[in-house]
């Protein structure tokens, strides 16, 4: 009867420990980031320079914005592997919209809407036709990349001169807009996941979909919604990509989906659903980005970089799981 003991007078001490345990995941990730900074800071020249820190933030945005939505999806017990092709497809679509002289703000809105609609296709297949989300998004993954390549012949689609798009890549007081958008979205997603019925319903569905349904949660609608949100976030990433490259590219964002999933998982979100946090994902995104950036600066052979990255990701998750286990026993 540990519960009754817990409600006994010594409750102050008892209250503190679960709090600490809850944040064990975040603490160990924070430690990992400090270690990465120490290692790359001493070994890789220019790693600590202001310019490189800005680069890291910008790269983090590419993974991060998609990772916020992916966190919701994975907490709900689903998976989305279509991120990379979705970003590339939207970048191409946006480039064409701008070539056709669609007003830039409207083009942005349309791009995000297209992303949401494409995402919701996967959501509907999952929610109403019981197709596993891995398969539904794998279909999107292949089809979207294929359409983009087919239409553009794998060539960049130039957007010409566009002040508004360029502005998106111009730093404000040294900080790139992409990073600001990422952080603003982070706050919004963290809020949604903790403070809205929608967010809590996602946790309930991931933890036990039957119980969630029997409690009156609209499981299907929420499943569609999270995939639509993921599509919209991929679209925002696609818009930022266009602003950075000045063109739409069917070959861009290759393998981004794996960086996104890796960031979420490194961040401590459980692939079996029901457990996870936005803060964890933020730290996970930083870990993944730091590794990528640092390995480049170290001048390691690009092929071998992939090996190192793979090992570090698995090691990070392993260490994290061990740390959480140990803190539970203690």
């Amino acid at each position: 009867m540990t519960l009754e003991q817990a409600s006994a007078p010594a409750s102050a001490a008892v209250k503190r420990r679960p709090r600490f345990t809850q944040h064990m995941n975040e603490l160990s990730l924070f430690a990992a980031i400090v270690v990465l900074y120490a290692v790359f800071g001493t070994m890789a020249g220019g790693f600590l320079s202001f310019n490189n820190q800005i680069n890291i933030l910008r790269d983090a945005a590419t993974i991060g914005i998609a990772a916020w939505a992916a966190t919701l999806i994975i907490i709900a017990g689903e998976i989305d592997v279509s991120v990379g092709p979705m970003v590339a497809f939207i970048s191409v679509a946006l480039a064409y919209l701008l070539q056709w002289h669609v007003p830039t703000p409207l083009a942005f809105v349309l791009a995000i809407a297209i992303g949401a609609v494409l995402g919701s296709i996967a959501g509907v297949l999952r929610a109403y036709f019981d197709i596993p989300s891995f398969v539904a998004t794998l279909g999107l993954w292949s089809a979207l990349r294929g359409i983009a390549l087919f239409v553009t012949d794998a060539l960049p689609v130039s957007i010409g001169r566009n002040d508004m798009v360029d502005a998106l890549d111009r730093s404000v007081a040294g900080v790139p807009p992409a990073a600001i958008i990422m952080l603003v979205l982070f706050v919004i997603f963290a809020f949604i996941s903790r403070k809205t019925a929608f967010g809590r319903s996602i946790f309930a569905i991931g933890g036990n979909p039957h119980a969630a349904f029997l409690s009156g949660i609209n499981v299907r609608r929420i499943r569609v919604a999270i995939f639509a949100i993921a599509g919209a976030m991929a679209a925002i990433t696609g818009i930022l990509l266009v602003s950075r490259l000045g063109s739409g590219n069917a070959t861009a964002a290759n393998g981004l989906e794996f960086d996104v999933i890796a960031a979420v998982v490194v961040g401590g979100t459980s692939l079996s659903g029901g457990r996870g946090s936005m803060l964890g994902t933020l730290l996970g995104v930083l870990v993944i980005t730091l590794i990528g950036n640092g390995l480049v600066l170290l001048g390691i052979n690009p092929f071998f970089q992939q090996v190192v990255r793979g090992v570090i990701i698995v090691a990070a998750v392993l260490a994290n799981i061990q740390a959480i286990k140990r803190s539970r026993v203690a």
Partner: protein, 509 residues
């Protein structure tokens, strides 16, 4: 009846298994109290007793899963000598086999593969498919099941699956086969196949222990029935000579007679009326009325369709015919959300799989039926959440250190209180509770009864489904007995007599 004749044709053979004066004590419980018992080859012995009477412990003695504190277990003429895990292997080696209620077949594999699961006949690592299928078909034929052995188990009916399960056990040439409620999940017509198979097994000279509560089945295949209560073997009766009331009296004992007087707050107003509801194969024609402020018990054996009935009312299961009226008006499309809006709430039988979200706190588990009530402007309010959660916790006497303690760490009874509490939070006026006291300790059970009475006193109407007969008089204003797809008998408090209810549940007609 040919099957009965076949069984009776085998004269009492040698004793295949026996218990001599066995006692087994668990912390706080005397699970088996000086039990002596024996089964002969070729005999079908029925084993009767309510939940917790000691049937499972007796079975565990025979399988060697438990060692008695005192007394001896003999299988095939020799006592089991070892203890620990070796003991179970010893009993297995002497030919003791159990077929459990939960089926353990792999649906995506063939009949033959399932029969030999993990022990497939191989030559140089390759499975000998032909040989395996031929042997499997022969084994199935012994039970009267004429199916090609290359069929997938997924395509079989529940009764056929049960037979495959039995056939698997027969492959090892057993001496004693124990069947634990083999027909509990089957409709009457389907159960027939299993009953016939059991008679065939016995005719081959195998001893059979048949745990069941269905008297009509027992009368057909067993000559004698052993009745257990409170860990003791009360009597072994001649089935043909004993009437059902007599057997029930032995099962429940004398304590059953004290009737509890409840103050009924049931009013005239009918909140729910079910008319001629049919949901084959389980329910053929079910009709009843539920009044405002009433606690209506539904009794019936496992697998009689109680859960299906509740699910049909809630709109999570389609039914074939019949009408459901709420407040006198028919429900045309009883979708789950529509029923929730009408003020209905449902707690599932399987709390762990369908009731709780183990990782989330008590607060969210209790409040997820109505998040808007704890939000302001679409945003969840921490103060409202903790106030509402505390209200549920106090109201239902949930023992939890904090409102956000993960519900998975609570005891079964406290989890159940939260699951009921979520409908109190939602303001439901009709609660359908499916086995709310299953897997709950005695103290929490008493609390749940009190909670249910309180909720009814406030004017809520409650349907209380239970397989534990003894709790019905403690909670219900009225009890209906579900049997053979229909509601058969009605008992009204204070005349809810346990013996009579039990007899109505198990009786043959």
């Amino acid at each position: 009846m040919s099957t009965a004749a076949a069984t009776q044709g085998v004269s009492a053979g040698t004793i295949v298994a026996s218990l001599q004066n066995c006692t087994k004590r668990y912390p706080g419980v005397l699970a088996l109290d000086g039990a002596s018992f024996q089964v002969a080859a070729g005999e079908v012995r029925a084993l009767l007793g309510k939940n917790g009477a000691g049937k499972s412990t007796l079975i565990r003695m025979l399988t060697g899963a438990e060692t008695p504190d005192t007394g001896e277990v003999e299988i095939d003429g020799r006592p089991l000598a070892h203890s620990g895990s070796v003991r179970a292997a010893e009993a297995y080696g002497r030919g003791v086999r159990v077929v459990y209620q939960e089926l353990s077949l792999v649906p995506g594999m063939t009949l033959a593969e399932n029969l030999f699961l993990g022990r497939w006949p191989t030559g140089a690592g390759v499975i000998k498919g032909r040989q395996m299928e031929a042997e499997a078909e022969a084994a199935l034929k012994r039970l009267g099941l004429d199916l090609p052995a290359n069929r997938l188990v997924a395509g079989l009916s529940p009764a056929e699956r049960q037979l495959v399960e039995i056939a698997r056990v027969l492959l090892g040439k057993p001496k004693l086969v124990i069947l634990d409620e083999p027909t509990s999940s089957l409709a009457a017509a389907e159960a027939e196949k299993v009953i016939e198979a059991v008679a065939r097994i016995a005719a081959e000279g195998i001893g059979v222990i048949y745990v069941s509560h269905r008297m009509n089945e027992i009368r057909r295949i067993a000559r004698s029935a052993t009745i257990m209560r409170d860990g003791r073997i009360i009597d072994t009766v001649d089935v043909a000579g004993a009437d059902t009331r007599e057997i029930v009296r032995l099962m429940l004992g004398a304590e059953a007679d004290a009737a509890t007087a409840l103050t009924s707050r049931a009013r005239e107003k009918v909140v729910l009326e079910v008319k001629d509801l049919s949901l084959p194969p389980k329910l053929s024609s079910v009709s009843f009325k539920l009044h405002e402020g009433e606690v209506l018990g539904i009794a019936g054996l496992l697998g009689t369709g109680r859960t299906e009935l509740l699910q049909a009312i809630m709109g999570v299961r389609d039914f074939k015919a019949g009408t459901i009226n709420v407040d006198g008006a028919p429900v045309r499309k009883p979708g789950y959300h529509a029923m929730m809006k009408r003020g209905f709430g449902y707690t599932p039988e399987n709390r762990k799989d369908e009731g709780i979200v183990p990782l989330l706190g008590v607060d969210e588990n209790a409040l997820m039926t109505d998040f808007p009530a704890v939000s302001s402007g679409g945003i969840l309010s921490s103060s409202k959440i903790s106030a509402a959660a505390r209200a549920v916790i106090e109201r239902l006497h949930v023992k939890a250190a904090r409102t956000d303690t993960p519900i998975g760490t609570l005891s079964g009874g406290n989890q159940q209180k939260v699951v009921i509490g979520r409908w109190v939070h939602a303001g439901s006026r009709v609660l359908l509770l499916d086995e709310p006291t299953r897997g709950v300790d005695v103290e929490a059970k008493a609390q749940i009864y009190a909670i249910i009475r309180d909720l009814a006193a406030e004017g809520r109407s409650i349907i209380f489904v239970s397989s534990e007969i003894e709790e019905l008089p403690l909670v219900c204003d009225r009890v209906l007995v579900l049997r053979d797809g229909e509601l058969q008998e009605e008992f009204t408090s204070p005349n809810i007599d346990q013996d009579a209810v039990m007899a109505a549940c198990i009786t043959s007609h």
